[in-house]
């Protein structure tokens, strides 16, 4: 059994063998992975030690104190949060060995090819086809809302391999090489002016059979692992008081008394309270996870943060008065990650509109909470026993 003391000892060993000050960043990250200190709850040989997940904090604290480099987790969030848990659960031994180490060190960025123009909330309606040809699958279709596609080496991809069965049954899960011929990434300019997302066109892309993840036709079940991890990571951040969007607006309020009005004061206080309570709810969820008693609270955190971000950033634009009429920069750029704090209030206001859409719309999440948490009857379904090819499109 690996306990906190043992992890501290191993961490110190790593720091002695690879002093952060004199070691190349990537070399250090590779050594950390090989020492099993990347994600301690992963198996030995795959960057972990099979230790309790909660003990990761012990390692992180020691490394931070020693000034060790990190792997820039926000930049590689899709790999860490979505691809890795799915590969760990469904991948073959060869796949785990091939993908996990460069994924974790950040050498290889991942993206996620799920959503399509005609399959967003109804993701299982997707129409991208994968047809078996010998030892490979030939893929054709179009994906959308793909963050990091322009930076990614690999993608997790779901595609339809059998149109003659109901929609959830005919899907298969693959790892797609983004450098393969036939993969075309086009920036998708958004409401903010920048192109954080992409469209990805797949034309006769050949994916070897060895890059299938899970069984043929079992892709929907595999994708559930990915999506569950996405929602947990969207809602499960640990925040200090005023750590979220309420921080910048509170700061402006304190520093610029000339902007204050009674109406804005009432709304600010109300949102400050809600932000603090949401923070406590996230903290309570985290404590439940550490105690090994995950609650259903996670299903709702994303809903709460989406609404809060939108209301707070809207208030912030109003608070700024004349400045609220301005926008920092409409230049079309392709950022590596979403940077709420590096941009101004107008950007925050516009970008937060996506919080209630990305990773499942708030309306669909409310249905999920009502059905899975409260046990209310499911929505009536007309697509359940119908072959995908016979569905309305």
């Amino acid at each position: 059994m690996t306990d906190a003391a043992e992890l501290r000892r191993r961490t110190q060993e790593l720091l002695t063998a690879y002093p952060p000050a004199s070691t190349d960043r990537l070399d250090f990250l590779k050594a950390r992975f090989d020492a099993g200190l990347a994600w301690v709850h992963y198996p030995e040989g795959l960057g972990g030690l099979g230790a309790p997940r909660s003990l990761q904090a012990v390692v992180d604290a020691e490394l931070e104190a020693a000034g060790a480099p990190d792997n820039d987790p926000r930049r590689i969030g899709i790999g860490l949060g979505m691809a890795a848990p799915t590969i760990l659960r469904y991948g073959t031994e060869e796949q785990k060995q091939r993908y996990l180490r460069p994924l974790w060190t950040g050498e290889e960025v991942w993206c996620q090819l799920f959503s399509e123009p005609g399959a967003g909330s109804d993701l299982a309606a997707l129409g991208t086809r994968a047809v078996r040809e010998g030892d490979a699958w030939v893929v054709n279709g179009q994906k959308v809302w793909t963050s990091s596609a322009h930076l990614a080496r690999w993608a997790i991809l779901i595609a339809r391999t059998d149109p003659d069965v109901p929609k959830h049954q005919g899907i298969t899960y693959f790892v797609c090489d983004m450098t393969d011929p036939g993969v075309e990434v086009r920036p998708l300019r958004q409401i903010t002016g920048e192109a954080e997302f992409n469209e990805v066109f797949l034309t006769d892309v050949r994916i070897p059979e060895s890059r299938r993840l899970g069984e043929i036709g079992d892709g929907w079940r595999v994708a559930q692992t990915t999506l569950m991890n996405e929602r947990v990571s969207i809602g499960g951040m640990r925040l200090p008081r005023e750590g979220g969007m309420i921080g910048p607006v509170s700061k402006t309020w304190r520093e610029r008394p000339e902007l204050r009005t009674h109406d804005l004061h009432q709304r600010l206080l109300k949102l400050w309270v809600e932000a603090e309570v949401a923070r406590l709810t996230g903290e309570r969820l985290r404590q439940q996870l550490v105690a090994g008693q995950p609650g259903p609270e996670g299903s709702g955190m994303k809903l709460a943060f989406a609404r809060l971000n939108q209301e707070i950033s809207g208030l912030e634009v109003e608070l700024l008065g004349e400045e609220g009429l301005l926008y920092d920069d409409w230049t079309m750029r392709r950022p590596e990650l979403v940077d709420f704090t590096g941009r101004d209030a107008g950007y925050r206001y516009l970008r937060s509109k996506g919080n209630s859409i990305e990773g499942g719309t708030s309306e669909v999440l409310l249905n999920i909470v009502a059905e899975r948490v409260l046990g209310l009857p499911a929505e009536p379904r007309t697509d359940k026993d119908v072959a995908w090819k016979d569905l309305a499109r």
């Binding site: 009432q266 309270v273 309570v277 406590l280 249905n367 948490v373 009857p377």
Partner: protein, 361 residues
């Protein structure tokens, strides 16, 4: 703030919850509570005896060497959740929390504190229920060592054996109930009635200074009231979900309509948040860390959620929710009265403006 509050329930707290809930299930059914509200004795004295004599719950906040259980606000919060869930007509918040906290701030109160901890004596702080912690409170006159005056809006006054009365000399006086006249007022909340206390040359015993005692009592009350509100809201949600799974209209369970599912999911989310806020306040009171902000946050959040939960329960029950025999109205009345008790959400937000430096224009 480096440390995070402990927001979970311990195993002991869950065991306590189970014991209190079992007892309330057996002895505090809604039809009896409704019938009692129209009787001469709105408080359930037998239930009080079971909770205090039987389980020792009145002494949770009192140290063991003064006859109590030496527990903390965390355990009291769990008891209040269950009492809220049952809208139990017992003076627990007023006696075991408010009066007890007031006495804990006083030096000359050891004997009385022990009596309150046993539950055989019920105490009430003679400060109006709606007052915010830190607000100015009315006092009575002291003349020749006797007390004169009248105080209104005193919660559970009619159940009290001893009233703790603030006077114009800055003292807090313990006055036995037979030395005063309690005039019941017609209360919005039938299960926590308020009354007017009249003192005509009443003899009292000075137990300490009123100001710190009242402040401490009201702050603990405001923080722990959030747990009672959580219990109320949780009952409202749970009972409405249960009903909407059974009730059919248009040949479908009503709970299958998306408009209603979304309302209930939204309410669930707010109850989940309320639980974190209430736990935060209870833990802060227990540890003494970050108390003022935690209490103000919890109270600013709790009242609107509890009221909305009760209002949603009533609406979603349809016509039956409007009837006297269905308990929904008890919860609505308690939730609305609670939204005034120990300061409104607005008053707590105003307090926060100072505490976290978000000043008004």
């Amino acid at each position: 703030m480096s440390t995070q509050p402990d927001l979970l329930y311990s195993e002991e707290e869950e065991a306590l919850r189970a014991a209190v809930r079992d007892l309330l299930t057996d002895h505090c059914g809604a039809p009896d509570v409704i019938a009692r509200t129209e009787s001469d004795t709105p408080h359930d004295q037998e239930l009080w005896k079971l909770l205090t004599d039987g389980m020792g719950l009145a002494g949770l906040l009192v140290p063991e060497d003064r006859g109590g259980q030496g527990a903390s606000h965390r355990e009291v919060a769990v008891v209040l959740e269950e009492l809220g869930r049952a809208v139990a007509p017992v003076p627990y918040l007023t006696s075991a929390v408010v009066a007890t906290e007031a006495l804990l701030a006083c030096d000359g109160s050891a004997g009385l504190l022990t009596r309150l901890a046993s539950g055989r004596t019920i105490g009430a702080l003679a400060v109006a229920l709606h007052l915010t912690p830190g607000a100015a409170f009315p006092v009575v006159r002291v003349e020749d060592g006797l007390l004169h005056g009248g105080l209104t809006g005193i919660a559970d006054a009619s159940a009290a054996d001893v009233l703790l009365v603030p006077a114009d000399d800055g003292g807090l006086y313990a006055v036995e109930a037979d030395a005063v006249t309690v005039v019941p007022q017609v209360s919005l909340d039938l299960t926590r009635p308020v009354g007017r206390v009249v003192l005509r040359s009443a003899a009292g015993h000075r137990v300490g200074d009123a100001e710190p005692a009242v402040r401490r009592a009201l702050r603990a009350a405001a923080g722990l009231l959030a747990s009672e509100q959580l219990g109320l809201a949780d009952w409202s949600l749970t009972e409405t979900v249960r009903y909407l799974k059974e009730r059919t209209q248009f040949n479908r369970p009503v709970g299958g309509f998306q408009a209603l599912k979304h309302r209930l999911a939204q309410l669930w989310l707010e109850v989940v948040h309320l639980r974190a806020a209430a736990r935060g306040a209870a833990d802060a009171l227990a540890t003494g860390e970050d108390v003022d902000v935690s209490v103000a946050v919890a109270q600013a959040y709790a009242a609107p959620v509890a009221v909305r939960a009760a209002e949603e329960a009533l609406q979603l029950h349809g016509g039956i929710g409007m009837t006297w025999e269905h308990p929904a109205h008890l919860y609505l009345k308690r939730a609305k009265a609670d939204s005034l008790a120990y300061g409104t959400a607005g008053a707590h937000r105003a307090a926060l403006a100072d505490l976290v430096d978000l000043q008004a224009p």
